[in-house]
Subunit: 163 residues, 2 copies
Amino acid sequence: MTISMYAITVPVLTRYLSNLEAILVKAEANAAERKIKPEVLAAARLAPDMHPLTFQVQSATDRVKFLLARLTGQTAPSWEDNETTLEHLRGRIQKALQYVGTFSEADLAGKEDGAVTLRDKQVPALDHALYNALPQIFFHITTAYAILRHNGVPVGKGDFTGA
Amino acid sequence: MTISMYAITVPVLTRYLSNLEAILVKAEANAAERKIKPEVLAAARLAPDMHPLTFQVQSATDRVKFLLARLTGQTAPSWEDNETTLEHLRGRIQKALQYVGTFSEADLAGKEDGAVTLRDKQVPALDHALYNALPQIFFHITTAYAILRHNGVPVGKGDFTGA
């Protein structure tokens, strides 16, 4: 086995986006049970000056698409930030999973030696993936989990890891 | 540039543990300013049945030490979970940073082809690092950040990424 740009991105992103989708399924069921309107948890946040759940999911999925698009020189698909319910947010994750699924090992072969352009600056692709994009994706997925957990949705760390 | 087990662990862990330490420095200054006792934020949590900040930092640092110890066949150092203040937690992170700093590229060379033992089960080292250990480390660092942010500590995502 060797470590490739594909190995550190596509399977990891697929797994953790799928886990986030499953967490939202649990949140929807729990909201229905507690008679919480579908917009309430989507708009929940951990602090008044912190972004809500919608933003966390939008940001996680945007960072996924931009990472893969930048690595391969594609133009990332455009997704409108119009989600207001947990169901919409699941749809957003499904779009991201579908996009991730279009990348093969061949598409990413050798990309660890390339560079990506961030605001007119060239950055080594590997540094961008390891130090910036992947940590930020985990940041937003964890924050989404934390917002739901803080609001009483019965999820545990096994839901985050998918273990 | 090539991707190695060293590249996906030591520099990433060093950076994100250092960022967490800097976040705790800001939290200490903010607690002093607001006359919050040093134990209060250390014991803060996002939900009554969720672990407090102390646990998040202990868990992040434990996962760091176990990852590197398992990859290299070392016995991880033993750290007592006795931290009760932000200052103690900074000390815990410093111990982890020091331990991470003992690993050279040579120590981790070829470890991507090996296996690690988890509860008597052999798991490919790369799968363990990418799918489990690193995501969980980011999970606990992000949760520590979220607990402090939720409690009014003025940190932003730039503090998380160290950008």
